[in-house]
Structures are given as structure tokens and as C-alpha cells.
Amino acid sequence: MLNLTIDGKKVQAEAGWTLLDTARQHHIEIPTLCYHEAVEPFGACRLCVVELRQGDNSRLVASCVYPAEEGLEVHTMSEKVKNVRRWILEMLLSECPASEAVREMAAEYGVDSTRFEVRNPEEECILCGLCVRACAQVVGANAISTVGRGAQKEIGSPYLIPGEACVACGTCVTVCPTGAMRARFDRVRGVPEVVMAKAGK
């Protein structure tokens, strides 16, 4: 057993646990968007950052990937942590304003509006990559991936058209934290013939 403190509270962790595992085991809330038990942690959304302090030194790490270590002093709600979360949430509000999940989480941090320009009011996808990882790691279909890079990145199947790799299992839709995959699903699997027939096509 490893001994560490989270927000001043002494807690124990088993070797191999992450800081997020440890906190959740002890009912300490840490917000996440790109994390899901069913797939490998990714460390991308950075909402789960926590502060590690050692004397005067301090740094932020993503708790979903950082391993619990003996003697760590962890702070989950310090000013530095909240500053990172607030900015990410405010930027998400402008990037994917249609997402209910993002709006709710932002409100918890007192972020009700965004100073940034909204490009697409319909956008829900936060690019957490859960759909891609679930399709690869859980289903094994590898039907979708991230396409492009940086600010232009998006989620899709090759050439952004329906492909044969999709088995239409819907795992990506289930795992999506914002509901964005619902709208993209047909572009990945193609519109099934039944639906086409109903629509009289």
C-alpha cells in the first residue's frame, strides 16, 4: 500500500493505481471528459489536472495517467488547478456550445459565458477521442480515427465517407460524453438500407 495525501486527507493507494483511481476510491471528485473505464486513459482533456507540491516546487499533472506514488502531496482544487479548468471550459463553451455536458460542467466552475467567438453554434464534439479509442480497443473495428491535426482536427472514417470497417455497433455513440457522435454516426456506417427504404429512396 502507498500512502499519500489528497487535499490534506491521508489516503492509501494500491500500486498501479492512478491518482484519479485513488481519489475516486476515496470519494474525492475530480472532473473528467476524455476518461472512461473501458479504454486506456489518454491524458488529453486536462480537466483532471491536479497540483503536486513538494516543498516550494509545484506542478500540475493529469490525474488519469499519473501513478500514485508514496508520499505525494496532491491538491485537487487549488487556484492553479481551477485556473486551468476554468479556461478550458470557457474555451470549450465557444468551441462546442451545443454540448449540454460542457455547459453543466462549466457552470460548476462559475463559467457561464465565453469571451471567445463562437464559430459553430451546433458543434458538440470536444475531440476527446473516446469514440476512436472505444472503436479500436473495445470493438476492434478501427473504423474511425482523428483526421488532420491541431485546430483543424476532426473525427471521422477515411475520406470522411462511410466505410466497410464500421460494424454499426454504436459503441462510439454510447461512449461519447457530449452526444456529438450521434450526429456523425451515419457518416461513418452509412445510412442503413432499412432507413433508406422507409424514406422511400
Binding site: 479500436a136 478501427n142 473504423a143 474511425i144 480515427s145 482523428t146 483526421v147 488532420g148 491535426r149 472514417s157 477515411p158 475520406y159 466505410g163 470497417a165
Partner: protein, 156 residues
């Protein structure tokens, strides 16, 4: 350049490397070099050979700058936007060149005559601002100089 590509046997390229995922980028680079772009058919062959899922290969093809999924123009003009070139006005030079051949942003002209790319530092800072026209370095270019060089290629 692109014209000779037809003679190149894609199977010969595929067989240059063992069928392992780590050779994905090698293969895509060789295909890009031979054909000037990576066609969907070529990408499928690469995936079959290396055992990489098509979605993964597509992710790689769209992540790295050097891969193009569409044919490029006959003439390739690269304008360096490294810091030294930027300070000496390469941003304006690129804009002026693109405007003069009817491009709003880096890319290929409709008639497939030119592809203009802006590139990160070529490491030829002593020649700043520098452009590369069909692999030939153009040291200390200016907008008028570069536009003239490029127009000449098009007329040839």
C-alpha cells in the same frame, strides 16, 4: 516529374519494405515522392502490406504535412516562413505570389500548373528571404523577382 510517375510500378515500391506497421510512413513517403500524391488505391495497398487499419493510415496521411491526398501542380513553389525570412518580409512575398496566380491560400491552382506551399524554416537563413522553386533555392527573393521566376515556368 509527375509525368514519369505513370511508369513507376507501385508493387515495386510496396515490396521495398517488410510488411510491418513501422514501415507505414516509409512507404507513404516513397509513394508521395514517386506519384506526387497518395491515391486511395495506393493507401489501401500500403495498409494491406503493413497490416495497419485504413483509418490509422488515413490519420497519418492527414497528420503530416508532407503527404498529399490530391495531385499537386506541375511546378512546386515553396516560400520559407522561418523566423529570419519572416523578419525580412516572406509573409508578404508569399501573399503577393499567391494573389498573382489566383490562390487565396497555399495550395494548387485549378489548372494544376502551380502548387504553392509555405514551409517552416529551410535552414538557409543566410539567404533570407528564401524560396524554393522546383527544388532550386532562390536566395534573397523579392515579390517581383519570385513572381517573374514563377510566371516564366508557367509560360514554358
Amino acid at each position: 516529374m509527375a509525368q514519369t510517375a505513370i511508369d513507376i510500378d507501385i508493387d515495386e515500391i510496396i515490396e521495398r519494405y517488410p510488411g510491418k506497421p513501422e514501415y507505414l510512413i516509409f512507404l507513404m513517403q516513397d509513394i508521395q515522392a514517386a506519384f506526387n500524391y497518395i491515391s486511395p488505391e495506393a493507401l489501401t495497398l500500403v495498409c494491406d502490406h503493413t497490416g495497419v487499419a485504413e483509418s490509422q493510415a488515413y490519420a497519418v496521411a492527414t497528420f503530416y504535412n508532407s503527404f498529399s491526398l490530391e495531385p499537386k501542380g506541375e511546378n512546386l513553389v515553396q516560400v520559407c516562413l522561418g523566423t529570419a525570412c519572416h523578419l525580412k518580409g516572406s509573409g508578404l512575398i508569399a501573399e503577393n505570389l499567391m494573389r498573382s496566380i489566383g490562390l487565396d491560400e497555399p495550395g494548387t491552382t485549378e489548372d494544376l500548373k502551380y502548387t504553392v506551399e509555405t514551409v517552416n524554416c529551410l535552414g538557409a537563413c543566410a539567404l533570407a528571404p528564401v524560396a524554393v522553386v522546383n527544388e532550386a533555392y532562390q536566395p534573397k527573393v523579392s515579390s517581383p523577382k519570385l513572381m517573374k521566376t514563377v510566371k516564366k515556368l508557367g509560360d514554358a
